[in-house]
Symmetry: C2
Subunit: 333 residues, 2 copies
DNA sequence: CTGAAAGCGCTTACAG
DNA sequence: CTGAAAGCGCTTACAG
């Protein structure tokens, strides 16, 4: 079918050693004499040898492939996480495949992954897929879940992240703090709790509904009527919503941060390159990837792990937040 | 490592037949007596047997996995194409894995895919990856390329699609037709050619620059100063740009299609659910997937194929285009 | 219609 | 330090 590829037996012949020696040399077995290893390596290199992963998998029983399951692809956050995770897994000797749940999961019946990471998955144990999946006895965990009784997960403490944003704003004198996002999101709950903890009043009117896109954030602000008692600061649900909101604020003639402060959730690089360098709160994405890679590898190795692993979002101060000048933005309006 | 899974040998023992018979029964070999097959199937079912794909791959030499390589994930078009392609491949006995090029390609050194589809890839033969990849002798083609000398590809005749849009608008009396998109895109070239073919004048001013997002389309229209000689109709680069442009047009107080007509490229379902059901032109996405699946399977089977396979974009009339009422939108403005 | 046997390309005790 | 051998779980001629 294909052009036949070179195998360890071919290399063995060329090197004048047994093919088990070749296998060991290729795998860096320390018992092999350096000179032998060198010769084997050179021949392999010269003939562009590629280990046949299927054979390796079959004999070793493991694929060294991790599945990363995402719900949707539209959030730039995923591209970032997927890339970081890919890198961290690679460092640990694993490859990653992306599985988009809308594409279905049958890939798992073909490809034996050694482990699986589910991003922010709304876990439904009665889901036929989850039933099938658990039959495979593949180590897995939820990344970014809020809870997952009896199974490992990495929790992003989003409520605490929002709390940090609220705290930061309050310290700068803001007392009327709004949120732009959909009320289903745990971040809205976190927002309300944070206000309560800080002794600030919760006004439903301060929550501008925005589902998840740039457009949503933009329209939420566009549709909002600013008035005397409007928030002097807003927190945005995610990077897209926040950037859309920023644009709408600027178009409404409000200066950010002079007239109104804005903090975005999710610390993506693009946030600092927005029209105004955005102050953000969000999980450290590199750490997230490291923790996720470590956890799945530990699970694969059957090490005992304690969970949840909790990731604390961090505040990154940039240029979209200023001390509250009470009523200033209203006057300008 | 894992809970040991049941194998064909186990089934053979339970069924009282040889394991080669089990293999054949499981694979639907017609020589096997129906009663035998039934017994085997029942036992397999009962014990939740899963074929070990690595063993299958190793012995058959093929993985039945196709790689689908994407550059970026943010366009909703990709989600659609990926899903359709996945389905079509599945019908033909193949699984698909998504490979995001920003994640790197090392997955290919681990996982032997039987074939590979590159979406709209800016092919660079000197790219070290492409060199490595071609060494693997894996069948592949470009999907959505404009050309690919000496290798198979599926061409989407975007220029012809744009031509259809221009023609449709002209037939309804429009002579000042604008385009919203970035001038790097082949669609802009197609737009200019279409105007020329139709004897319409090309004004650079009619091309509103928009790179690719909703925001880009929205801002392009926002920043445009409508005047006496402005276009009476626009064509949008893709679904996102078009939807952003639609919003900006509406906000500018223009009625679509009464005051101004709009055609969007890419016939995604969401286009008809926009604020105004959008007339679109774009490749039939189901056919695209079918053609892509057929081509890669043919290539894998070493069948001779003729290429390029050309996909013609289709016009879908909805409610965003109306007969031109010369100057009407200007008067209203 | 069924089965014994070879083979896919590796890994990994085990023996030397 | 190296090699012979068994084995991973299948598929597939081949013989019957």
């Amino acid at each position: 079918m294909y052009l036949r590829m070179i195998t360890i037996k071919d290399i063995a012949k060329l090197a004048g050693v047994s093919y088990s020696t070749v296998s060991k040399a290729l795998n860096g077995n320390p018992l092999i004499k350096p000179a032998t290893r060198k010769k084997v390596m050179e021949i392999a290199e010269k003939h562009n040898y590629r280990k046949n992963i299927m054979a390796t998998q079959l004999s070793s029983g493991r694929s060294h492939i991790i599945g990363f399951v995402l719900d949707e692809l539209s959030n730039p956050l995923f591209a970032n996480i997927s890339k970081n995770l890919h890198l961290e897994l690679k460092k640990r000797g694993y490859q990653m495949i992306l599985v988009v749940s809308t594409d279905g999961y049958d890939i798992f019946s073909q490809l034996r992954v050694d482990g699986c990471i589910f991003w922010d998955y709304r876990l439904d144990k009665s889901d036929p897929f989850m039933k099938d999946f658990s039959n495979l006895h593949i180590p897995w965990f939820l990344l970014g879940a809020d809870e997952n009784p009896n199974s490992p997960y990495i929790k992003i403490d989003r409520k605490e992240g929002i709390y940090k944003a609220v705290e930061h704003l309050q310290e700068l004198g803001h007392s009327r703090i709004g949120f732009i996002g959909n009320s289903q999101d745990v971040k809205v709950a976190g927002y309300k709790e944070a206000l309560a903890r800080k002794g600030l009043e919760v006004h439903e009117e301060y929550v501008l509904p925005a589902y998840s896109t740039w457009e949503d954030g933009y329209m939420a602000v566009r549709n909002y009527r600013f008035h005397q008692g409007s928030p002097t600061a807003f927190i945005g649900l995610n990077s897209m919503v926040t950037k859309g909101a920023l644009r709408a604020l600027l178009e409404a003639g409000l200066k950010v941060p002079e007239d109104i402060s804005l903090i975005g959730y999710d610390d993506l690089p693009e946030m600092q390159y927005a029209e105004v360098a955005l102050t953000t709160v969000g999980p450290p994405l590199d750490e997230l990837a490291v923790q996720a890679a470590e956890l799945i590898v530990s699970l694969i190795k059957k090490e005992t792990v304690s969970y949840p692993v909790v990731i604390q979002p961090l505040l990154h101060e940039r240029s979209s937040v200023a001390r509250c000048k009470e009523r200033t933005h209203i006057e300008n309006n």
